[in-house]
């Protein structure tokens, strides 16, 4: 225990000094049928190396759009995203975007999917890397299975493995567990945290689920409804594994509920 604590402290010291992502006044306006729809309004944010940041907002507020800009799939109307001090100009294999489980390639096996981005490696290295990630996400025995033979949770783990396999330094996750049932979803959060603690990638995680954000993130960025602005950034100062009935957890969670304007009584 003492060992892990000191490791965590060392990491905190290291990560405190390096900025991974810097968003500088990102705005985007979509033009549809002659009318302009403002989706993002001057989003500015800094993300530290190795940090787990959740972007939280109501459905349709533009949080996926924001993630697509940072990942390089969309150009902002104004402002600029910077990663490692470089302006984002397009998608990059150093930063992998994880969709909901529909993003796995249905014509490839589990092995084929995990190995998809490893075309620059030698055959042995590739096989080794695949075996490692098959094991890491617990898909042993399903190496030759096709996605349609897997459950939703397994497909999601497969997609996470495919992303981690190319050893990116950053991951974008767009409501990755949104289509899973609530029990599988809890398991997947645990899995993701476990892998993140092992591999220490910077993670930007988009969700509309307040509980999910507070369980996972180092910081939660709360967005307003459209056009999305940053309402508040909440530091989640609870070490993992988090006790979701602890007073501090409930306090942070309820704070966000109130921020969004929801009473937590149904």
């Amino acid at each position: 225990m003492a060992h892990t604590l000191s490791a965590a402290t060392a990491r905190a010291v290291k990560t405190a000094i390096t900025t991974k992502v810097s968003l500088d006044g990102l705005s985007i306006v979509f033009r549809r049928d002659g009318s302009a729809v403002e989706v993002l309004d001057r989003i500015s944010l800094e993300v530290r190396e190795g940090e787990f940041v959740c972007i939280l907002g109501p459905s349709g507020c533009g949080k996926s759009t924001l993630l697509n800009i940072v990942a390089g799939f969309l150009q902002p109307s104004s402002g600029q995203a910077w990663i490692d001090g470089e302006a984002v100009r397009g998608p990059d294999p150093r930063r992998i975007f994880v969709f909901q489980e529909r993003g796995v390639f249905p014509w490839l096996t589990v092995e084929g999917n995990i190995g998809f981005g490893l075309f620059k490696l030698s055959r042995e290295e590739k096989a080794e890397r695949i075996a490692h990630y098959v094991q890491l996400v617990g898909l042993e025995g399903f190496e030759r299975a096709y996605p349609h033979e897997l459950s939703g949770g397994m497909k999601q783990r497969l997609e996470v493995a495919r992303a981690f396999a190319v050893n990116p330094d950053m991951l974008f996750l767009d409501e990755p567990f949104g289509s899973l049932d609530s029990i599988t979803r809890l398991g997947m959060r645990k899995e993701l945290l476990r892998i993140w603690e092992l591999e220490r990638k910077t993670i930007l995680f988009v969700t509309h689920d307040i509980e999910e954000a507070v369980q996972l993130a180092d910081r939660v960025v709360v967005l307003s409804s459209r056009p999305a602005r940053i309402r508040r950034i909440v530091e989640i100062d609870i070490p993992h594994p988090r006790d979701i009935s602890a007073p501090r957890y409930l306090e942070l969670r309820d704070g966000i509920f109130e921020e969004i304007g929801l009473a937590h009584q149904v």
Partner: protein, 260 residues
């Protein structure tokens, strides 16, 4: 236990066999009852088939017909798939060419027969050309649509992993469009076999289509006509069965609604 299992195994064949037997007996009874001299009975057709076999015509005609269909179909694949990929990938080119394709598509290949004979004479090439025309459009259009329907998510994922455009086409677009392409290939093969008979009635002096028209012209041999029709039907069934089999390949199976 065992008798039950063996009944289960035979069940898929049992009812089709019963139905075929029933139709054959109806056919026999109809010929016998009406006393027709034009329409042959099943037995007469069977004798005609034996005659074809004895003269060595049956296998030769089947071979010739399959060769023509194979050549025209292969040509349609080699043209239709690359052009379909190109047009599906490049919406501007597709928009430019699409009106012409959609205008040519509803013209029956049979309408091209006069031109085919002018260009190629009464040769195999004329028949192959007609089969090519009949099968190229379903292949081209299904490939084009398959490429257009590739989910943007797959393209984004491919780009994200750093694939070049060529690699993206080969490793994402092609396999993603493949199930829809297979549907087009299957339709095209059916149409090719349909058109073959008409093509062989006009352009050439061998093959199953020729057998039918020649049997009628040379002595009103309707037993041979029906024999030819049966063989065409059986081979068509076989072709469809084989191409359907491709849909069970593991890497395209996701695109079809098969039970596991």
């Amino acid at each position: 236990m065992t008798p039950n299992v063996s009944i289960r195994r035979w069940e898929p064949y049992l009812w089709p066999l019963c139905a075929t037997a029933a139709i054959l007996s109806l056919w026999s009874a109809g010929v016998w009852w009406s006393g027709t001299r034009v329409f042959p009975s099943p037995v007469a057709v069977e004798r005609a088939l034996a005659e074809l076999l004895r003269k060595g015509l049956l296998w030769r005609y089947i071979g010739d017909s399959l060769f023509r269909v194979g050549a025209g179909y292969a040509l349609a694949i080699t043209c239709g798939i690359p052009v379909g990929l190109l047009l599906g990938w490049n919406p501007a080119a597709a928009a430019a060419v699409n009106p012409v394709i959609q205008m040519l598509r509803p013209i029956s290949p049979l309408a091209w027969i006069p031109l085919a004979i002018v260009w190629f004479g009464a040769t195999d090439l004329a028949a192959i050309f007609l089969i090519f025309l009949a099968s190229v459009f379903p292949i081209l259009v299904s490939t084009m649509n398959g490429v257009r329907n590739v989910p943007p998510m797959f393209l984004q994922a491919g780009q994200n992993f750093g694939l070049s455009t060529a690699a993206l086409l080969r490793r994402v677009v092609f396999p993603s469009a493949l199930p829809q392409m297979l549907v087009g290939l299957r339709i095209a093969l059916g149409v090719a076999w349909l058109v073959l008979v008409a093509a062989e009635m006009i352009a050439v002096t061998s093959g199953l289509g020729y057998l039918i028209i020649d049997s009628r012209n040379a002595g009103q041999r309707y037993d041979l006509v029906i024999a030819g029709m049966l063989i065409i039907g059986l081979i068509g069934l076989g072709l469809d069965f084989s191409i359907r089999h491709l849909e069970t390949w593991k890497s395209v199976r996701w695109g079809f609604r098969h039970e596991t």
